[in-house]
Assembly symmetry: C2
C-alpha cells in the first residue's frame, strides 16, 4: 500500500492537478534495476558524447520552460521571474558539466611511470563512475535542486544513471521534468532509464536500501536527511550519503562597516533574509552586529518594510510558525508583513546579546526554515570572536568590513573558517554562484560529508571512484591513460 502524493497551490491551498501515485516497492525495484541496466552503456559513452547529451537535456528543458514555469508556479508560488531564472540556472548547470567533460577536468588522471631504480611498476590512476545513484529533490528549488538539478546533472556527467525521489511539494513539476529528460535521452539515442523517478516517503527509503544504488544525494531537512543517512550507513554494504541539511549561515558585521554602511547593510540583510520567503539553505539566520543603536534601528526599519509571499507548503508554513513560536520569549527586533496567499508568513527577527547567546547557543542555532533571523549584539571584537566558537557547522559565513579593519576581518575569518564551507566578504550568503570553484558544503549539520560539495565543478566527485591500472600495455589502457594522451586531458605525471 502506498500513499498518493498531491501538490497544492500555496496561494490558495487548493490541489494542483491529480494526485500522483506513491511508487510501490516493487516498482522502485524495477526503476532501480532499469537504472542499473542502463549503467554500462551510459558510463561507457565517451565523455564528449555524454557532454552532448547533457547539452540536449538542457535544450529540451529550455524549450519546455513556459510549461515548466507555469506548473511550478502553481505548485510553489515562487513566481515567474524567479522560476524562469531557476530554469536557466538548471540548464546552465547541465551545460557547465558538459563543458567540464569536454575539457576532461573530471578525469583527474595521475601517471606514475615505472621506475626500475625502486622496482616501481607503471601505475596510472583515473576517476570512473561509481554506478547508479539516488537523488532526493529539495522543496525549495523545483528545478535547480530537483529532478534535473545539480545532483542529477553532476551524476549524469560522471556517467551514473540517476533515480530521483520527487519532492512531495511539487509532484506535477517533477513528472513533467522527468518526462522532458527521458524524452530527450531517447531522442539522443540513450536509454531513457538513465533517469528514473519515484514518488513518496516509502519509495525514498526503499531507494536508499536498494542494492543497485551506489550513492545518495540529498538536499533537505536535518531530520529527514539524518534518517536517510542512517539507512545508507546501516546497509549490508554501506554507501556514501551526500546530504545537505541544516544551516544558519552566520553573518558578521564589523564595527567599521556598521558605522560606514548601516543603511545598506540593513536593506541587503532584509532582502537576503526574505528572498524566496526565506526558504534557502543559505538564508542568513544569524547575524552578529556591534551594539550600535543606529545599525539596530536601520535593521528594524528594513525588516518592518519586508513582506513575503506564501511558503512552499502547509507543512513548511506550520514548521516555521512553530519554530518562531519557540522564540516568543526573546526580545523582538522587528517583524515584517505576511504577504498575500494562504501560506504566507511574517518575517521575524529577534535580538539577544552575545553573553546570552554564548550561554545557550543550542537555543539559537537550530535552523528555522523561512524568514526568521536572530541578531546577536557584541560589545567588542574579542567578545565576537569568542562567541563565534560556540556554533555548529554551516554552509556559509559572511563578514562585512571596511578596508580599515583588516585584522578584525582576518580574525573573524579564522574563527569562522573551520565552521563553514564558504567565506563571503562584504556579501550575502543567498545566491550560490554555479561555477568551477564554488563549494556548497560544510561541517555537520550543514552536510553529512564535509569533504564534498553539491554545487560547482567538483560536485561530480561525489559520483566517482578511482581505479588504478598497473602494468597494462598501451593498447589495453583506457584512452585517458595512454602515453600520447589522445584526449588531450590535463594530467599529473610523477617526476
Amino acid at each position: 500500500m502506498t500513499v498518493d502524493v498531491q501538490g497544492y497551490n500555496p496561494r490558495t491551498g487548493a490541489p494542483v492537478g491529480d494526485a500522483v501515485a506513491g511508487t510501490p516497492t516493487d516498482e522502485v525495484d524495477r526503476v532501480a534495476g532499469a537504472a542499473a541496466a542502463a549503467f554500462p552503456a551510459w558510463s561507457g559513452l565517451p565523455a564528449t558524447d555524454r557532454a552532448g547529451v547533457l547539452d540536449a537535456l538542457a535544450a529540451a528543458l529550455d524549450d519546455g520552460a513556459d510549461e515548466l514555469v507555469a506548473v511550478a508556479d502553481d505548485e510553489t508560488a515562487l513566481g515567474e521571474t524567479r522560476l524562469r531564472n531557476e530554469v536557466g540556472r538548471t540548464t546552465g548547470q547541465l551545460r557547465m558539466f558538459a563543458d567540464l567533460l569536454r575539457r576532461g577536468l573530471h578525469v583527474e588522471a595521475i601517471i606514475s611511470p615505472a621506475d626500475p631504480a625502486v622496482a616501481r611498476p607503471d601505475v596510472r590512476r583515473m576517476l570512473v563512475p561509481i554506478g547508479p545513484v539516488a537523488v532526493f529533490s529539495a522543496s525549495n528549488f523545483p528545478f535547480a535542486f530537483s529532478v534535473a538539478g545539480g545532483d542529477t546533472a553532476s551524476a549524469l556527467a560522471a556517467g551514473c544513471p540517476v533515480v530521483v525521489k520527487a519532492h512531495e511539494g511539487h509532484p506535477q513539476t517533477s513528472v513533467l521534468v522527468a518526462r522532458i529528460l527521458r524524452g530527450a535521452l531517447a531522442a539522443a539515442g540513450v536509454s531513457e532509464d538513465v533517469l528514473g523517478l519515484v514518488h513518496g516517503f516509502d519509495a525514498g527509503g526503499a531507494l536508499v536500501r536498494h542494492p543497485a544504488m551506489r550513492a545518495v544525494g540529498f538536499t533537505g531537512s536535518l531530520r529527514g536527511g539524518r534518517a536517510l543517512f542512517d539507512i545508507a550507513a546501516a546497509r549490508p554494504d554501506p554507501i556514501p550519503f551526500y546530504g545537505e541539511l541544516g544551516s544558519v549561515n552566520p553573518v558578521v558585521v564589523l564595527p567599521g562597516a556598521a558605522r560606514a554602511r548601516a543603511r545598506d547593510i540593513a536593506t541587503e540583510y532584509a532582502g537576503s533574509l526574505t528572498l524566496g520567503a526565506g526558504q534557502f539553505c543559505t538564508n542568513p539566520g544569524l547575524m552578529f552586529v556591534p551594539d550600535d543603536a543606529a545599525l539596530l534601528a536601520a535593521l528594524a526599519e528594513a525588516v518592518r518594510a519586508t513582506s513575503t509571499g506564501p511558503m512552499l507548503s502547509e507543512r513548511i508554513r506550520d514548521s516555521y510558525v512553530d519554530g518562531a513560536a519557540g522564540r516568543d520569549a526573546l526580545p523582538s527586533l522587528a517583524e515584517g508583513a505576511a504577504g498575500e496567499g494562504a501560506w504566507s508568513v511574517a518575517p521575524r527577527v529577534w535580538q539577544v546579546d552575545a553573553a546570552t547567546f554564548a550561554a545557550g547557543p543550542d537555543r539559537f542555532t537550530e535552523e528555522i526554515f523561512g524568514p526568521a533571523g536572530l541578531v546577536v549584539t557584541y560589545a567588542s571584537v574579542a567578545e565576537l570572536v569568542s562567541t563565534l566558537s560556540h556554533m555548529d557547522g554551516s554552509l556559509t559565513g559572511s563578514v562585512h568590513a571596511t578596508e580599515d579593519e583588516p585584522d578584525d576581518a582576518a580574525a573573524v575569518a579564522a574563527a569562522l573558517g573551520p565552521l563553514v564551507g564558504r567565506l563571503i566578504y562584504n556579501g550575502w550568503p543567498t545566491g550560490v554562484a554555479v561555477c568551477w570553484a564554488m563549494h556548497h558544503g560544510g561541517p555537520w549539520p550543514a552536510t553529512t560529508a564535509s569533504g564534498h560539495t553539491s554545487v560547482g565543478g567538483t560536485a561530480i566527485r561525489r559520483w566517482q571512484v578511482p581505479i588504478a591500472y598497473q602494468g597494462w600495455p598501451q593498447h589495453l589502457l583506457p584512452p585517458e591513460l595512454r602515453d600520447h594522451n589522445p584526449l588531450g586531458l590535463p594530467r599529473t605525471v610523477q617526476e
Copy 2:
C-alpha cells in the same frame, strides 16, 4: 578498568617485554584534547614547513631502524629483511608526502574569477585540513600501516594531528615508534601532541566517539572495521570512516598465458600467496584458471614447495585454522609446509570448478587471512567472465595474458573493473607501490569508502575539506589563492 596489552613472540609464544597498560577513557580524552589543542598551530604551518617536519620524522625513524627492527621482529617474527624494507617504505611514504607538499599538489586550488556578465562573484576554492583524526594500526605492517604508517603520514601532511590506536599485536613497537616521532616533533619545534598514542580495544571505541576526532583511518578486519564504522556513523555528528577491510583479490589466468607460462605463473602465485605468511590485504585468495592439467599440476607442485613462517599472533593463527577448516569439504589442490615457530601454519589451496563457484560464491569469497587460496577452473572465457560477476568488491584484480589474447584481457578487465580498485596486468597483487598514482581501495567490503585510497598521493584527500572564498580582497586571501600565486601552485582557473 582497562585491560593490559601484552605482545608475544610468534616464534616462541613467549611474552615480549612488559604489558602496556590499556588507555583509560579519561586518558583517551586527554590525548584527543591535546591533539585538538595542537591543531591550530600544526595546520597553520606553511606546507613547506610541514614538509620539513615530515622529513625530520623520516630521518628519526631511519636513525632508529636497528632498534625498531629488533623490537618489531620480536613481536611479529616478520624477519629482519622484510622489516628493514618496511622501515624504508614507511620513511619513503613520509618523504613522498613532503615532496607533494613542496610541489603544492595537495591544495587543489580552483579559481573562478568574477564575471559581471552573469553576475558571478569572485570564488576561490582550496583544500584545508579537516581537524584532528584517529588512525587504527594494522597487525600485518608494524611500520608501514601502523603508528608512523601511511594513514599517519598522509594526515600529518594534510595538517591534521593524529591519535593512533596501537595494534595489540605489537605494543612495544608502537610505543617505540611514537616515542621517536614525538621526540622528533619536539626537536623540530612542533608540539609533540601532533602525534598521540592509545592502547586497547576500549580506547579504540572511545577514540571514534570522541568529539574532537573529525575522521578515522582504519586497516584491519571486516568485523572490527564494520563495528567502528557503525560507531562513527552513529555519532551525533557523523564523521568519515576510511576503513580498509577484507579482500580476496581475484587473479585471472587466461588460456594463452596458461599455455605459455604455466611454470612461471605457478611459481609466482605460490610466492605471492605465501609472502609474509599470506598476511597481506592484497593476498591472492582467489584465482581463476583454465581447466588445464599442466597448469594445475604446476600450481600444485609450486604450492607443495612452499613453507611459511609463523603468523603474527595466536588469534590470527587460530582464525586461519578455523577458516581453512571451513573448506575441508572442498577438493584440495595442494598444501605447503608449516615452517618453524609456535604459530606457523601450512599454506593450503583448494580447487573447484566455475559452476560450483557460481552456485554459491559467498562460500568462497570470504577472506581467510593467511596463505589460503582457492583455484577456480573455467571451461571457456565466456564462462569465466560470467563467473566474475558473482564476486564482491576487492582491492585488486589481476589478469595474466599473452599478446595474442587482447580481447579476452579486455573482457576480463571490463568485468573486474567495477569490482576492484586496482587492475594489474601480468603481475601479482602483493606489493603495493607507494607512488602518486597508486589507488589502494575498492568497493565494499574491500573498503568502507570506495572513493578514497589509503596508499598513494591522493591518500591525503581523506583528511581535507574544501573551503571557498567569495569576494575577498587580495591581502586577506590565503597565499594559495592570491592572484600572483606566490607559492607557485598548480591551479585551475575557470575560463
